[in-house]
């Protein structure tokens, strides 16, 4: 294509037309902050881990469970908690491993795969958390209904009036859906914006190599 050759001619001619940076200027750049996508994914993931762990600490239900005077519940929730921490630790390890795996020297396709894998890990992490929210909320409701003496009045009312029960269940279901929905939306927006360009480029590369 002769046009491209014209461009090449011009390209070569302008090869040395850039204003040159000094060593001092390059030194200055080395310690500035990167704005790369992967760094942001990592930071956001870590923040997410802190957020969830923090929520776990703030809303500790130990006292509440103790007040119910059912020791077996305390054990049950402790086990669930420890299991949760173990899973979070595994995720942190995976995030770190992904981050280390991303080296800019591999081929573009491999690099993109690694970055998208990082995103997948985040995605699994979010799904796991959503799942735990649902489990937590439901078991919370069940425990309240079954063991909390304060719920006695409500239970009696529900037993007598079907409408009252339907409304209560409806509100609880809506609460679960709303909390899951809000978080899901937030997640979609956050990573959607970050990864829009990357996804487009990845699709382009994949299309090339069918």
């Amino acid at each position: 294509m002769e046009e491209l050759d014209l461009l090449k001619k011009d390209w070569k001619r302008k090869e040395n037309s850039f204003s040159q940076l000094s060593e001092a200027e390059i030194y200055g750049m080395l310690h500035r902050k990167s704005s790369s996508i992967v760094k942001w994914i990592l930071i956001i993931s870590i923040l997410e881990v802190f957020l969830w762990t923090g929520i776990g600490f703030i809303y500790s239900n130990d006292d509440y469970l103790k007040s119910l005077k059912h020791e077996e519940l305390l054990v049950y929730f402790r086990v669930l908690n420890y299991f949760n921490y173990a899973v979070v630790l595994v995720f942190i390890y995976l995030f770190y491993k992904n981050y280390v795996n991303i080296t800019t020297t591999s081929s573009t396709k491999k690099l993109m795969k690694d970055i998208l894998k990082t995103r997948k890990t985040v995605q699994y992490y979010v799904w796991y958390n959503l799942f735990m929210i649902v489990i937590g909320l439901i078991s919370g409701f069940v425990v309240s209904f079954a063991y909390n003496p304060q719920m006695q009045l409500m239970k009696e009312k529900m037993a007598h009036e079907g409408k009252y029960m339907a409304i209560t269940l409806g509100i609880l279901t809506l609460a679960v859906i709303a909390s899951v929905g809000i978080f899901w939306l937030f997640y979609r927006l956050l990573y959607g914006i970050l990864l829009k360009k990357l996804l487009a480029n990845y699709k382009e590369l994949k299309k090339m190599d069918l």
């Binding site: 294509m1 046009e3 491209l4 014209l6 461009l7 090449k8 011009d10 390209w11 001619r13 302008k14 090869e15 040395n16 037309s17 850039f18 040159q20 940076l21 000094s22 060593e23 390059i26 030194y27 750049m29 080395l30 500035r32 902050k33 990167s34 704005s35 790369s36 996508i37 992967v38 942001w40 080296t103 800019t104 020297t105 591999s106 081929s107 573009t108 396709k109 491999k110 690099l111 993109m112 970055i115 970050l194 360009k197 990357l198 487009a200 480029n201 382009e204 590369l205 090339m208 190599d209």
Partner: protein
């Protein structure tokens, strides 16, 4: 990281900085965006430098990392390009005498290239840099045959943009 490593990196980067400038020329328009991308590439190169073993030339290694940064890690949108912004790049042009008509055509060519997506720009870049298909396929991680096919498509696309 040790000071000597840093010193060696800075020296080599200084000598090879035109590679990065050239990538910035294709992927950005305007001096600010150019500097932004240059900085991002420098940071990524520095981060990857400990893994550079010297079994290839610094320039070969650097252009791969730089290109990958432009394609994958750089987030600022550089899609919208106006003629005004191209004008601001005029100071790059050396003061040699030039053919006005040819210069107009080159300007249109650059504008056409700016309309390509990141991957297509990478192909154009490697074409302009006289990289062979083995190198292109290795850099992008696609087969040589596909690199060839895609290069032809990019040329076709450019032709279409230029002669609608």
């Amino acid at each position: 990281m040790s000071d000597s490593l840093e010193q060696s990196f800075v020296q080599q980067l200084k000598q090879n900085q035109n590679i990065i400038h050239k990538i910035c020329r294709l992927y950005t328009s305007g001096q600010d965006a150019h500097n932004d991308l240059f900085q991002e590439i420098t940071i990524q190169l520095w981060k990857a430098f400990p893994k550079f073993r010297g079994d290839s030339k610094f320039s070969t290694w650097a252009y791969r990392v730089a290109l990958n940064t432009a394609i994958t890690l750089y987030r600022k949108s550089t899609r919208s390009v106006s003629t005004v912004e191209y004008e601001s790049q005029k100071h790059f042009i050396s003061q040699e005498e030039y053919n006005y008509e040819e210069e107009e055509q080159i300007k249109l060519l650059y504008q056409a290239v700016y309309q390509l997506n990141d991957i297509e720009k990478a192909l154009v870049f490697m074409y302009l840099e006289d990289k062979d298909y083995a190198e292109i396929s290795g850099t992008l991680g696609i087969s040589e045959v596909n690199a060839r096919v895609k290069m032809n498509r990019v040329k076709g696309k450019l032709r279409k943009i230029l002669n609608p």
